[in-house]
Symmetry: C2
Subunit: 444 residues, 2 copies
């Protein structure tokens, strides 16, 4: 019988430990993947890839007690050597290699992609086919560290604002938004669907916790193969009760974005530098009514409006351009969407019921959030259902919740992959999805 008493201290050091604890001239142990080897004849550089970045190993015959050909690119190794300063090396340090221990060897001679290069010069298709290899490229993997920062700050910020985290089921009897884009499955001989959003659940939980959030996958059987659509994505959702108006939700999202940018600047500095990202200014975000901004954009850019009830991708792009030119903002809230394009639970504007107390947030030309106030009155909710010719079937428990009192509330959903995409400057959402699912892609 053994006892476990907590995390084991490792003798092999990480880069931040080398920079903090180790001194020049000290003998240290590090491990990592052999990223690249550059043989210069009398000396060779063996670059290790570690989770915090690259570490340069210097190989010299006579100093090292092994042969250079003993180590191969893509091997996992542990190296013992002497730490020295070198301002030309990554992080200003390098390791004079003395001993090596091979932890694991590749069986293939060649990697399918040249991951050691600064930029992975290959097609998106190839990157996705060899996803687990492509992401070993430093810049490719950095995008997903940024993504971590965005979801991590979302949760941290909301914990601090009194929100409770919830986990709602992804298999259910009926979809929240209705419509055709629902994946169906057989659930022990009963028809079931995959959740398009946690909408109903988070609303029900407002009656319990006042403020709730969830960060989880959602599923949409969209038949669009575009640069902005995914069939499975991570949705950052929150819902809050006791709001004074739907402005509270936009204010909360602004607070989140401010918090996120601060966290990225502080904790993801390396990745920002690697990707040459300049974070957007989120001190203030302009908000304009749907009908108003359509008009403004159409006038300024001579754009012909086709659909008066929704925004086309081209219009989203023009609206963002307008916000940047007129108000210097990368973000813009578009408010008061037409009621007929919003789901039944959206609260109509009492001043003009053709519109809703709702909004989208556009970021650099693309919608990344949809949100708004919801109906909290049972009678108003069932009346709107009826007016739309919808059935209450499958929504009984959701609707029942409103019979027993619900505070005024609203919330939003943010598409994590889109937010990441726009932040890191990509133009295809697959670039910022670890393993994207689209019409043709179900693997890896």
């Amino acid at each position: 019988m053994d006892y476990f008493t907590g995390v084991r201290q490792k003798r092999a050091l990480e880069i931040s430990e080398l920079l903090k604890q180790a001194k020049t001239g000290q003998r240290v142990k590090v491990n990592g993947a052999v990223h690249t080897i550059r043989d210069m004849g009398t000396v060779a550089f063996v670059i290790l890839r570690k989770r915090e970045g690259l570490l340069q190993g210097v190989y010299e015959e006579g100093v090292a007690d092994f042969r250079l050909k003993d180590i191969r690119e893509a091997a996992a190794v542990e190296i013992e050597g002497v730490l020295v300063e070198n301002e030309k090396a990554p992080n200003g340090i390098e390791l004079r290699m003395e001993k090596v221990r091979i932890l694991s060897e590749p069986t293939d001679e060649m990697l399918p992609l040249a991951i050691g290069k600064w930029k992975l010069n290959t097609s998106l298709e190839a990157k996705l086919n060899y996803r687990s290899i492509a992401l070993r490229n430093l810049r490719e993997r950095a995008k997903f560290r940024i993504q971590e920062g965005l979801v991590r700050s979302f949760r941290d910020f909301l914990y601090g604002q009194g929100f409770t985290e919830i986990h709602t089921p992804k298999i259910g009897a009926k979809g929240a938004e209705g419509g055709a884009n629902i994946f169906k499955l057989d659930y022990f001989h009963r028809p079931a669907v995959l959740a398009q959003s946690p909408q109903f659940y988070k609303q029900m939980m407002v009656g319990v916790f006042d403020r709730v959030f969830e960060t989880a996958p959602v599923f949409r059987a969209e038949k669009h193969n575009t640069k902005r659509h995914l069939n499975e994505y991570t949705s950052l959702d929150f819902e809050m009760g006791y709001i004074d108006g739907f402005e509270d939700i936009m204010a909360m999202e602004t607070g989140y974005l401010q918090y996120a940018m601060e966290m990225l600047e502080r904790d993801y500095e390396n990745e920002l530098r690697l990707l040459k990202i300049t974070l957007p200014d989120v001190t203030r975000i302009p908000a304009v009514k749907f009908s108003e901004i359509k008009e403004l954009v159409s006038r300024k850019y001579g754009h012909q409006m086709r659909n008066p009830f929704d925004l086309e991708p081209e219009e989203e792009s023009l609206i963002s351009r307008y916000a940047k030119e007129e108000w210097g903002s990368d973000f813009i809230f578009v408010t008061h969407y037409p009621s007929k394009k919003r789901p039944f639970y959206a609260m109509d504007d009492p001043e003009d019921t053709r519109y809703t107390l709702s909004f989208d947030l556009l970021f650099r030309g693309m919608e990344i959030t949809t949100g708004g106030q919801r109906i909290h009155d049972y009678r108003m909710l069932t009346k709107k259902l009826e007016a739309r010719g919808m059935t209450e079937e499958g929504m009984e428990q959701y609707l029942d919740t409103f019979r027993h009192g619900m505070p005024p509330h609203g919330g939003l959903g943010i598409g994590l992959e889109r937010l990441t995409m726009k932040l890191v400057g990509e133009d295809n959402v697959r670039e910022t999805t670890l393993f994207p699912r689209d019409l043709s892609r179900l693997e890896p």
Copy 2:
């Protein structure tokens, strides 16, 4: 055009703000749900349910400018009044009510459950049927705050240990564990499955980030209707590279549990008190070999072993009893499970290949974690697949990853609902699942 500049300060105060900022005699505004009303004749107590607990409102005719019958149980209200101390009231404060604003009214006269009672005396069935109402009971909702603490501390701890958070797809072409318990769906006329675990993906990502974790739903089409099985649950998964042995994984999990208990004690004090929870001691967790503990338990309790390759629920219970009696521990690692009961990617023990370098963690009689070291060598992996008569089909990209080098690694998966259940002292996992999915339950 408006500008949003961040979170809006609310005039209505939360309980912690009342306790910190407000003074006795001060006029304040609060909102909340009317939890219960106790009319004593000359005076009435209107208990508000807020996210941080209960607040006692005192209604006296003449003091208040409204009639008591204007407010109903389950309504959402905003109350203005004078704050006074009262050591008998929750949190030692109460509000002399002066004005009320009704934010929202229930349409039904009666709640289906007596949520205002200390303990919700009703069947599990009723609680699940009226889930959004049942959870308004303070003790019911407290369980899910504890659950939040468990998942929140999991992430926080792992961020601190250099792990990267990942989001892997839940729809795929093939299940990770194989077997019959896979939900199938139609993905644009192609057969697809729901993920039983993020196993393959987190392993692939070890080659990228060294250490990764995910907290996400997994799906198992188990045909068991037991107290411990769910068809959808939240799995806390991590996977770490450059391990010196599978002991590193148990050490990391021990570290997590220590961190989690500290966070619960610090940040979830109210909920622990409400549920009368005594947190388990996790200073040290014993670890015993599978074959050894089977023997010890059989000898001590005169238990007849039936299945030499697996643990029956009764044995799990006896092993936990043994760990408590002999080593004073609520947790016990059972290590070196037989190879034939572990998946193909489990690393066999080089000293005795009938067993694996794997473990389960039992907590108060139940398995809550399965983990272990994985095979990182391509040839060893394909050989084991072959020996089991399995095909490589659908696993090409997973297997290819190993051709291009992978460090020694391992990881684990923790069932969040089970961990919560055992911590809060429930004996049915549905009690600690927000909206459980089982053989018969697909709603709400």
